[in-house]
Point group: C2
Amino acid sequence: MIRQNIKVAVDAVVFGYKDKSLNVLLIKRNIDPFKDSWALPGGLVVENESLEHAVERELKEETNVTVDYMEQLYSFGTPDRDPRNRVISITYFALVKPEHHKIKADTDAKDVAWFDLQKLPELAFDHKMILQKAKERLQNKLTYEPIGFDLLEDKFLFSDLERLYMIILEKQIDRRNFRKKILSFDILEELDEKVSEGRGRPANLFRFNKKQYFTLKREGFLFDIK
Amino acid sequence: MIRQNIKVAVDAVVFGYKDKSLNVLLIKRNIDPFKDSWALPGGLVVENESLEHAVERELKEETNVTVDYMEQLYSFGTPDRDPRNRVISITYFALVKPEHHKIKADTDAKDVAWFDLQKLPELAFDHKMILQKAKERLQNKLTYEPIGFDLLEDKFLFSDLERLYMIILEKQIDRRNFRKKILSFDILEELDEKVSEGRGRPANLFRFNKKQYFTLKREGFLFDIK
DNA sequence: GCAAAAGTGTTCCATCTACACCCATGT
DNA sequence: ACATGGGTGTAGATGGAACACTTTTGC
């Protein structure tokens, strides 16, 4: 068997909707290379753990976050992407509801923070590329799966759902058409609760009916937003 | 740094349209484990080569095929997927025009063959899972990118394009609607050549106009087949 | 002349798009 | 009373789905 000394790592791109904008979870590195740079949470896979386990473990260790939704994103393997050794990174794409988690730096990280995607710092390694790939995944996925609901709180405002779509898809959306479309899917419950955000007419709260969604899906229904 | 001894491999799922059906390229393993089983072509990544280079090299070595289209598919990393050591495999999805290549077994492979997807043998390792993932990618991709043309010969029959779509999407397609839709994209040239296949009315040959496709794409045109 | 595959149009329905005014609240 | 965000309907255009007969060849 060929001699080979390649390390295997995992990294996670964790998105969250917070303060009316789309955020990504970053850590401040505590060790060289790229000490003090911001980077995606991640680290080396341990001998006998699955890749998913490695991501979840690193996330928990470095940020104290456990994710609501996760899937594999892409693997990055350019020979010189890490200045120390050859490291290939299998990256994951995750969504969380930021209010559900108290982030906290720990092992290997001297700080953790949510960053508005519009105001990102420089990132370590090739993490900018990874984030770019994740953004594309998010854009695509949003249109054919109801993943928006994994980013919002359980009870949310329609205007937040709409804002989320506009931010991610980077385009204007017609309020009436959007609302009509989403409601026609019949996967939302309109609650008898109103919320006033200080100005304007108080808005109704909605809740995503996951069970209903899976029932409809089994019957052939396709979620699809242009 | 953590001690870690995980090997990194690449495997390729190569599809080709041949004899009016969809085929996948397999090799017969020459070494244990799974000696004499059929498997996807692939092998360990060499220290300083890129992942793409590794796939192309292994494919060339084991099958004598060079691909027309390739993209990364998914990474498989379950701890016990290889009975020898821990091996994670980064898999690739490729499309070729089978008539353009003379397949030939070589290093590590005692045989190479195209297999109709409907008549597959048992596969080594977790390759059945990999193939399943590749099939899903093919199905999705077919609907929003003109990858069908990478599977057909340069000059092809409309009926083959249609058959290809029906095979991959596993459903019937209305001939008239399909033709109308595809032609409306304005990315095919109808040639002044007819081909008779023994029975029935001779059919016109078509050619995919790649340049035209990229021009339209740049202008915002979206390829989309339901 | 018959079997086999190629080629071709129209109608109906569902969905998308564009678009503007009133409502409920806080200050 | 005004500023702010929430909530709602309609008409026209577009695209998708359903559907059957004629044409050209080989045998």
